[in-house]
Amino acid sequence: MTEFGDIWVYLSASPLAHLTLTLAAFQFGAFIYARGKLNPMLNPVLIAVIIVVTVLLLTGTSYADYFDGAQFVHFLLGPATVALAIPLYRQFDKVRRSALAVIASILTGSATAIISAISIGYLLGGSRDALISLAPKSVTAPVAMGISEQLGGLPSLTAVLVIITGILGAMIGPFVLNLIGVKNWAARGLAMGTASHGIGTARAFQVSELAGAFSGLAMGLNALATAILFPLIWGLFF
């Protein structure tokens, strides 16, 4: 037992255990997702998160300790965002041909996201802090936190809502798109990226590179659109 204790102390201090846990949990999620023929409800991020949280709670590990190891995976989000330039370039002809439609759709989508979130939250009695933190939920986390803080929201609450929105969009987005009968991959990708940033983009890439490229583009442009639109819309409301 003491020996096991020693090993445990060693492992919990090294990033290796938490890094391995993250990869293994994701591999399991990806396996279930693939077995389920990429059914969006079997979102691999959600499965991995549930497994990791369960393990952390059972072993009494704090998030800070976990992140010491997991940060190596987290860090790659930056380079991966930069790498979105490659699929975007591959699809550039299609993007250029529909540039005006892309910009108009993202602006409309961005305004829809902000106005619907604020007004539903308001009607259901959400507090002012909650409303501000809620509004930029469709935007990639670093920008959303900045926007929320600027208007007096809670950046940490915003970060939580951004991730939930991402997973939610990746899970229900494909059903919504099938329901309204949109088959065009460019339009499907654009909608996923506008509503659910990187997690929606990851889902879009799994089904079509064209959708992924438009999704990545929408993620970037919606960050810009929300940063500009949200202060204006908030000014109109309150």
């Binding site: 993250t22 994701f26 990806a30 991995a48 998160v49 952390l56 997991a70 995976v73 790659l76 930056g78 380079p79 965002t81 930069v82 790498a83 979105l84 330039a85 699929p87 370039y89 041909r97 529909s98 108009a104 759709s105 989508g109 829809t112 996201a113 619907s116 539903i120 939250g121 959400g126 507090s127 809620l134 939920k137 469709s138 990639t140 920008v143 900045g146 940490s156 970060a159 939580v160 991730i163 939930i164 929105t165 997973i167 969009g169 229900i172 987005g173 919504v176 798109l177 949109v182 065009n184 339009a187 654009l190 909608a191 509503a195 659910s196 990187g198 990851a202 799994q206 970037g220 940063a227």
Partner: protein, 137 residues
């Protein structure tokens, strides 16, 4: 892409191929991100550094006119596992659930309805506008 000519005499084949391959482009990707982060700090705009880095890399590709083979390999390697990269942040969410606290019902309903609406409106707008434009795809 290139390595100085005096390496030719030594048997640096594998090293050269590695440097000329993935490593060069990994450096290029990190360089674009770093330049993006610096530009964001300097200009104080509310766009994340990596998004600006994406724009820089895209301009590089436009100027070059094609995608170097190993850059494509490096980028596809990163993007094939994009979902994985969200797991650490996702785990943070579950432990901060108490932040949502008393507002969980309005927040939950607002999240679901707003996400559905945003997806539907954006997709319908895009497919409507691209049909009207030229009828292409």
């Amino acid at each position: 892409m290139y390595i100085s000519a005096n390496c030719e005499s030594l048997d640096l084949g594998p090293v050269k191929r590695f440097v000329a391959g993935m490593l060069n482009y990994l450096t290029l990707i990190l360089g674009c991100q770093l330049a993006g982060e610096l530009a964001v700090r300097a200009a104080g705009v509310s766009v994340p550094g990596p998004v600006l880095g994406m724009v820089l890399l895209f301009c590089f590709l436009l100027a070059r006119g094609s995608i170097p083979k190993h850059l494509a390999t490096t980028a596809d390697g990163l993007l094939n596992h994009l979902s994985l990269l969200f797991v650490p942040a996702g785990v943070g969410v579950m432990l901060h659930f108490r932040l949502i606290g008393n507002d969980w019902l309005p927040i939950g309903i607002a999240l679901i309805i707003s996400t559905v609406l945003t997806i539907a409106v954006t997709a319908l707008m895009m497919s409507w506008l691209s049909k009207g434009a030229a009828g292409n795809d």
